[in-house]
Amino acid sequence: MRTFLTVFFKELLDNIRDRRTLASALIMGPIFGPVMFAVIINLSIDRALDDAESVMELPVIGQENAPNLMRFLESRNIDIVAGPADAGGAAEAVKSGLHDVVLVVPENFGEQLADTIPARVELYSDEANSQGEKEERRARRALRAYNQQLAGIRLSARGVNPLLLRPINIDEVDVSTPSGRSAMLLGMMSYFFIFALLMGGMYLAIDTTAGERERGSLEPLLSLPVTRGQLILGKIMATCVFMAASLILSLLSFYVVLEFMPLEQLGMTPNFGLAVVAAAFFLLLPFILLGASLMTLVASFTKSYKEAQTWLSVVLIAPTLPILVVSILTLRPKLEFMFVPSLSQHLILVDMVKNEPLNGLHIAISVCSTLVFGAILTWICARLYQREGLLG
């Protein structure tokens, strides 16, 4: 026990004095997530405000051929501007990205309209350009509305009720709660927490294995009258403490960021008060042991500090994989998912943020299975610490 505590406190002291470790544990991990989150949210708010009827410019070729259409478009907050010289130029301009969308009104538009044969207009857009998609959709919506208006007028002129053309009236009712809507964006939060807690222990995991070997301090350490199991346990526990500190800071910085973000503008009210912060901490706590032993295990196979860094950056990404798969397939939380570490924490956390009732069994399975995985990996670490190859 004394050996364990001696190693534990020495590793804490040693790493608290190491600026790089401190920076990654207490600054990089906890700050990276919230900052990135704030940027993304701000972008989405900008976009959302964009959608609300702002003025859009639409280059049109042959404006003089359809004066009524032009007036209609202007009434929908669309500014008509002069387009390229001809249809060929329009295609070029859209292809090159000069314009997102160009409308061409042929000379015989008026004639065709008068003859009540479908009057042709051309709408140039680039389907591969996702940026222009919004403008194109708006132009098309406006044209369709004009189309419907004309159809209605024609029917009325012939004494037919225009409502005949609308056998069905679609009313869209969105049942997602404000908290529920937040969950989509806030779903990525759980990964930021896992990222932060892994970052917090990354340098310790490297230092206690590859680093100690590279420095030449491992061999004298192993020649001391102590058992190696106690050494590795002390090191893993010190790693856990740094990871826990990193996680707490990350949770708190998210809490602060969410307080100041204008999320109501996006119709979101995430349930992320201090009580949820505390609950999230205890939910993620078992993942710390798993992360610490996993990183120590991976680092112990590497030959040098550099190599360990490379491999551990892969470990940082690994927990996203199950989250990504479930997000893409939009699967609902299921019992068997709770056996998968990182995924179970993610799903439960999303429910917490959505303010949905929590499933006690799910939480119990998540905590237990993650702890069991962590204990197994720790045991493997201790076993590997016994081998001669450890000295490299």
């Binding site: 001696t6 004095r17 301090s217 061999e219 004298p220």
Partner: protein, 242 residues
């Protein structure tokens, strides 16, 4: 008292040790001498229990290095080749860390650390962080932490490597002090003169085998060479055929 009895050790296809046997008695300095790659470090690593011999056995004051490795380690202070310190800890903290790991009574740790710092004459830089220490300073601190639990047997792997004349001389004085205190000292070197100047017994290793061992005089006698360097070369050639 260190006993080595016919140890073999291979790393893959490389046969590093092919039956090394010798004794290092208490109150004497035993030098393990040999060219680079002869198997000196491997032998010492077996003795401080980080490697296990494939065949043969070794013991420290009767404690087998394989079956009773914990108590074997309790009886030795080891200075591995190129031993590193923790750069963010001071010299004193580095030494205290080892003192605690060796199980020295908590109330005594500070006194013991202070005593070993005095003994090795490193007071001047003992409270500085070891980052940026010179090779000589590093070796002295490494030695201090290896000796802090007052081991009966001291194993030093090429301790004078990279040391200047003054540092080498003070290290020599320290080794002689340990000898006078009745300790068993085993140290390796590839420098003939150093071994000759310090050791009571010499064990010359070449190609993973003991070429010759005994007192300095008996080696001169058995190789028929008056000059020790010539004796060294002659001894190595005895096994060099392989």
């Amino acid at each position: 008292m260190i006993k080595v009895d016919g140890i073999h050790k291979s790393f893959g296809k490389v046969r590093a040790l092919r039956g090394v046997s010798f004794d290092a008695p208490d109150g004497k300095i035993t030098g393990l001498l040999g060219p680079n790659g002869a198997g000196k470090s491997t032998t010492l690593r077996v003795l401080y229990t980080v490697l296990k011999p494939d065949v043969g056995s070794a013991s420290i004051d009767g404690a087998d290095v394989v079956t009773d490795s914990l108590s074997a380690r309790q009886k030795i202070g080891a200075l591995p080749h190129g031993a590193g310190l923790y750069p963010h800890l001071t010299a004193r903290e580095n030494i205290a860390y080892y003192a605690n790991l060796c199980g020295i009574d908590k109330s005594e740790v500070d006194d013991r650390v202070a005593a070993i710092i005095r003994l090795l004459e490193i007071e001047e830089f003992s409270d500085r962080r070891t980052k940026g220490f010179s090779q000589g300073q590093r070796t002295k601190v490494s030695l201090a932490r290896a000796l802090v639990h007052d081991p009966q047997n001291v194993i030093l792997d090429e301790p004078t490597n990279g040391l200047d004349v003054m540092a080498t001389r003070s290290l020599r004085r320290l080794i002689l002090k340990l000898k006078d205190a009745g300790r068993c000292i085993l140290f390796s070197s590839h420098v003939m003169q150093e071994v000759a100047a310090l050791c009571d017994d010499i064990c010359i290793i070449a190609s993973g085998q003991v070429a010759i061992d005994g007192s300095v005089d008996s080696i001169r006698e058995r190789t028929g060479q008056d000059d020790l360097e010539e004796a060294f070369v002659a001894a190595i050639q005895m096994v060099g055929g392989e």
